[in-house]
């Protein structure tokens, strides 16, 4: 938080601000000191906010026309596509928007992994982010069920059946989730309710995520603590606003490409066939953004252990701030970590690829190796690397490598005393 006291200039503004300090908040958000070396990977926070708002607005509109009933849901989606004014546009934005949301969140997460943004003092921001990510997956899954096509129905059946792996109570939980003996109308109506609820939970968590961010301030590409405000920072407005805005426009071009030129490429043709509880489609795959976890699930030959492995793959991220023992945040100064980072990126992409392939033969073998490596990275490589790795020298400030010296006097003193020894 910026330290200086803010007083509105106008009398009315002061009167209001004394009662509800909204203007103080606006001033904080405008002046918020931001590291001046933030690169374009830092624009995805803003892009994600845009994605969330887009999903909420288009979702509200779709809910005005959609009917959550097993007999009418499929027809009502076709009604949206054919009859409702601009219904096709709004539904395509919402459906592709989910993919764009995940694309942005993966970039955002991998940015954090590269620059060590999850490390102290930003662990709480990171954990809130992981909760948001989990809720996003839940919302995406629930939303995918609503059109009541074949993939909706069988996706819902397969995912809810994951809970049946739980010993003793599993079957009971599944029946409870379904509200019956199979995925049917009661399942659909509760899924619609929860799909409507989750985005607002995410919105609340986003506020906490940003609040928690504004306590220590942004991390930056060289991952050092900086003095705020100083020569190392620029005010959020206009510098970051313009940069975020430009990146958002670029992102919207990609978004619009999918919506207008190839709106169904990320979906499955089978979902344009109405749900049929008697016939399962030949090839069931989740949406692309869930494929790596799907590959982990299938690579374990035991039902319960497979589910545990899949959930652990996500939850292990929450422990990351403590698994990574290195004090240096940015991979820029960690030559070994940088290589392991890219191996992890490749590993996750491979998992995504084999997740889309049939679980047999070579694909299964690759999936198993990639799954093992995924856990190895977090449980062995990261803890050991912190102790073994020889990191390269970290500059004292953002300006130091260019201008010499530092606006951060405390850091200069620390370095000087280091030299004396």
């Amino acid at each position: 938080m910026s330290e200086h006291e803010y007083t509105p200039k106008s009398k009315v503004g002061k009167w209001f601000n004394d009662r509800l300090p909204l203007l103080t908040l606006a001033n904080h958000l405008t002046d918020y000191p931001t590291p001046k070396n933030l690169n374009y990977w830092w624009t995805f926070g803003g892009i994600l906010t845009f994605c969330l708002i887009t999903q909420i607005v288009t979702g509200l509109v779709l809910a005005m026309h959609y009917i959550a009933h097993a007999d009418m849901a499929f027809q009502s989606v076709e009604h949206i596509m054919r009859d409702v004014n601009y219904g096709w546009l709004i539904r395509y934005i919402h459906a592709n928007g989910a993919s764009m949301f995940f694309l942005a969140v993966y970039i955002h997460i991998f940015r954090s992994l590269f620059y060590g943004s999850y490390k102290s003092p930003r662990e709480v921001i990171w954990i809130i982010g992981i909760i948001i990510y989990l809720l996003m997956m839940a919302a995406a899954f629930l939303g995918y069920v609503l059109p009541w096509g074949q993939m909706s129905f069988w996706g819902a059946t397969v995912i809810t059946n994951l809970f049946s792996a739980i010993p003793l109570v599993g079957e009971g939980i599944v029946t409870w989730l379904w509200g019956g003996y199979s995925v049917d109308n009661p399942t659909l109506t509760r899924f619609f309710t929860l799909h409507y609820l989750i985005p607002f939970l995410i919105l609340g968590l986003v506020v906490l995520h940003i609040w928690a961010l504004h306590v220590p301030g942004n991390n930056n590409p060289i991952g050092i603590d900086i003095k705020k405000p100083s020569k190392d920072t620029v005010p959020f407005h206009p510098y970051i606003v313009i940069k975020d805005g430009f990146a958002l426009l670029m992102f919207m071009i990609v978004f619009a490409f999918f919506v207008f030129y190839t709106p169904n490429i990320l979906g499955h043709a089978d979902n344009y066939i109405e749900a049929n509880p008697l016939v399962t489609p030949a090839h069931i795959v989740p949406e692309w953004y869930l494929l790596p976890f799907y590959a982990i699930l299938r690579s374990v030959p035991d039902k319960l252990l497979g589910v545990i492995a899949m959930l652990s793959a996500i939850l292990i991220l929450a422990a990351l701030p403590w698994l990574d023992t290195s004090k240096i945040r940015s991979a820029v100064f960690r030559p070994l970590y940088k290589q392991f980072y890219w191996i992890l990126v490749a590993d996750v992409l491979i998992l995504g690829y084999v997740g889309a392939m049939p679980a047999e033969g070579l694909y299964l073998l690759i999936a198993r190796i990639a799954t093992a490596y995924y856990f190895l990275h977090f449980l062995v490589v990261l803890p050991v690397l912190g102790f073994k790795e020889r990191t390269t020298p970290v500059p004292l400030s953002i300006t130091e490598p260019i201008l010499g010296g530092s606006p951060n006097l405390a850091a200069v003193k620390k370095k000087d005393s280091f030299k004396d020894q």
Partner: protein, 168 residues
């Protein structure tokens, strides 16, 4: 110096203008989606068989979600409607203009006050009476007493043949 300022002003204005067009293009679909959709517009006209309606009887049909009164008037009612002087009317309209074929009165059964459905053969003028706020209509559906501002509306309709009316 002067020139540079002008160039920058131009760029700002151009950027805002393009941004406004873009924002409008995004907002319009979000507004237009609430307008009647293609499936609603497809139901915009209704055909009614009136062969079973005897003089002195009214049938009510649903058209665009609203009731339409189709009344086969008796000679007395027609005479009563035609005898009214225009200056006595709150919303002056001739009966001939409201019922092209004087035997048949086809009108939207919606009170022009606040949208209730008036009751048939009630009120001080032998026409309709709205129970919500007490508007009295005559045998031509014209407002005579009460808070309603105008006569009951005549929809677009025509006789397809002697026994069939197409509304809308």
């Amino acid at each position: 110096m002067e020139k540079r300022t002008k160039r920058r002003d131009f760029l700002f204005t151009a950027t805002y203008a393009v941004g406004a067009v873009g924002a409008g293009a995004v907002i319009w679909p979000m507004i237009d989606q609430m307008n009647p959709d293609a499936s609603v517009k497809a139901l915009a006209s209704t055909e009614v068989d009136v062969s079973a309606v005897n003089p002195g009887k009214t049938i009510t049909v649903l058209w665009r979600g609203k009731p339409v009164f189709i009344r086969r008037r008796t000679p007395e009612e027609i005479a009563e409607a035609k005898s009214v002087k225009l200056e006595d009317l709150k919303h002056p309209e001739k009966d001939e203009d409201r019922a092209k074929n004087p035997e048949w009165l086809v009108m939207l059964g919606v009170c022009t006050h606040l949208g209730c459905v008036p009751l048939d053969q009630k009120g001080d003028y032998n026409g309709w009476f709205c129970p919500c706020h007490g508007s009295h209509y005559d045998t031509s559906g014209r407002i005579r007493k009460g808070p309603a501002p105008t006569n009951m509306e005549i929809p677009e309709y025509k006789f397809v043949d002697a026994n069939t009316i197409k509304i809308g």
